[in-house]
Amino acid sequence: MTTKLREEVSILIVEDDPGHARLLEIAIRRLGLDNPLVKIARGDEAMRYLGLQGHAPAAAAEPPLVLLDLNLPGKSGFEVLRALRAEEAHRHPVIVMTSSDDVEDRRRCHEIGCDDYLIKPPDEDELVASLSRLGLIATKGPDR
């Protein structure tokens, strides 16, 4: 089993498809992480929640881990990412989770400044490796 994510870190899933959001949620829970998890379905809502573009930030002092889909209503994932990275105060770890394996999208995301780019449906091993790379968890013991 893996160690938990640091307790203060909340997880923000920005995803419009409820099925995908649920898959992600299940994957995280199956990893043993029981951090508070917020699901937001719209890009503009996400920006408000994160206190981007003039909005007052929501409660959490520690920037949450953002699992970001690219295809969102309201504002697109790219715009959210750009906004996130534009405000240096908010150094959120962002993992882009998208169904698109388009190399262009990947490149653009990396250009704008995502921490990782994963293809949906979420693969648990990939997720662990990514979180590990980001220093958010430490793996301990063998995987299932």
Partner: protein, 703 residues
Amino acid sequence: MNTRDGGSLRPLYLPERMRDGGYTRRLVLWAVLFVVTILVALCLLVGVIAMNLRQQAMQRAETEARGLALAVTDSVARTVQLVDGALQLTARRLAESGGGDPERVIAHLYEELAFAPHLRQIVITDPDGTVLHDSAGRAGARLDVSDYVERMRTVGGMLQIGPVHQGRFLGQPDLTGQMVIPMTRVVTGDGGAPVAVVVAAINQHYFRASFEELATREGGRVALYLHDGSLLAASGGGHDWRQAAHSTREPFSERLRRAEFGEFVTDQPDGVARVTAYRMTHVWPLVITVGLATTVIEAEWMAEAASMAFPAALVGAVVLLMAVALVRVMVARAREEKALAVASRALVSVGEGIIITEARRDNRIVYANPAFEAITGYALADVFGRNPRLLHGDDRDQPNLAEVRESIEARRPVTTTLRNYRKDGRCYWAEVTITPVRDDHGEVTHFVGIQRDITRQKEDDAQRRGLIDELIAATAKLQRFAFVASHELLQPIVSVQGFATLLGKVLPRPLAAEGEEALAELEGAATRARQMVGGLREYFQVSASDEPFTDVDCGDMVRTILAEISDTVAACAAAVEVRDLPVVRANAGQLRLVWRKLIDNALKFRHPGAAPHVVIGARAVSGTWLMYVEDDGIGVPAERHEDIFDLLRRLHGSDYPGLGLGLPTCRAVVERHGGRIWVTARSGGGSVFQFTIPGAGIRPGEP
């Protein structure tokens, strides 16, 4: 059609009768008819006059002949009378003397006939023919007087003349060619019985000589006949004196029975046609004919006629020459007119509206054809004398009008499109051509304006453009839709994948009978679906993209790609050679896609177990760049060279798994850039994929 007179401006019109081209032709016909009539009349006149002259000549000849005949008759009559007188006297004396002493009678006779130079011989015989006295000195001879005696008995005692005796003297025929005409009186005694016969032989030559003198005109002929038609004397030669009486010959056959004198025209014994006058004496049985040869008369007549006909012919010739000249001019004119008629008919017939304006008079309209009225609603009467700018109404500031004005000023032809207005105010689009018309000196005298109503055409064009725009918009919309739809389709497929995998993880093992199989199939199908949708999405994204073209350094791009897939390259120990690649103008993202796919394929389809060798390069071909990716892998069969780029074939068939829709997408990208993509087999095994990016503006040969 003269419009050059100072004040008045008259419209150009093409008269109906000239338009059909037959006007001058008819004139020509009339002219010819006229001349022909004149010539014919002239000929007739000359003919009539000539005939008249001939008539007159003949009549003159007849009159002359008649006169001559009269004169001859008188002369002959006198001669015969002289002889007859003497013979009568002698006969009486003999009768008185009872035939006793002929010598004395003879002496008297000689006295009487002293002045008769034509007398050659006198013979007196008794009734049975014994010569009692012969002045030619052959007394005692015999003379056949039986005929004379016989005739005296039947006809009576009067002078008997003839027949001609050949020879110098009676009773002695000789063939010297001299002839005498005997004149005989039978002397009767009491009781009427013949007692003696007195014959006087007249020198035929005497008559002939005087006849010759009279028949001075060439071909003239004077003859002396007995009543029965036997010839006594005649002018000219060639007479056959042995011929019997010719009662069938004129005038003996009919005329003498009707009239004692008259005229006739006929062929005479010597074959010459003559105008002949005849006269008969009753006292003695003589007929005198005087004939004048018709040929001579006619010759004279013809000379006279010629002297009249010659000037007439001259006049006729002059008239004919003038007529010919006139007709030639008119025929030429008729030809021109026919051409003109065709041209004018053309003007009237064409569907284009045509106007002619006078250049020097503010381009006033002097002619408008029927099509012009049909198009504009204005007839010639409406626009005559006005400038064509009336067609534009208030719409004077049209952009093309400036060009028109300029061209007219510069005396240059111009074609343009204008908004014109019909008489009823309706606007229409006109394609107008204005052409200057020059005279012989090169001066522009008129302008010809030709217009076509192209309103419908313009509307059709606009409609067509509209339809095309709609079509393009609809296609783009469809492609965008396909792009979006494919993305949307991805979402449930992703969910299926995710939950299928999850099931695999959370379901307790072992699963019921086909459980594992079901799970495996589920995951497999979802994966395939995802690949397909992903490929379609990528394909439709090509047309949906509106990123601008930029300058793309292909060398950098390819090296970047190779860096990105360095793991894969290392894993198959591939040797990739990148040659000089150009900078091209393209959609960077899409071009990257093409390079990526081609390179991926080159590595993927290697010979298993062998290290692939890949060459990437480019060369310039007539102004475009031809890029290539060459590999020594398993290659593509020749029959598949087209299929692998075909979207539908790729969707349908699965004989090249792993290829996906990559190549159709590459083709979509390349074609969007205006180029071509294709594959050829590499000699030695493997494939060469080539594509062109045209319009790069780089000269061939430059790197």
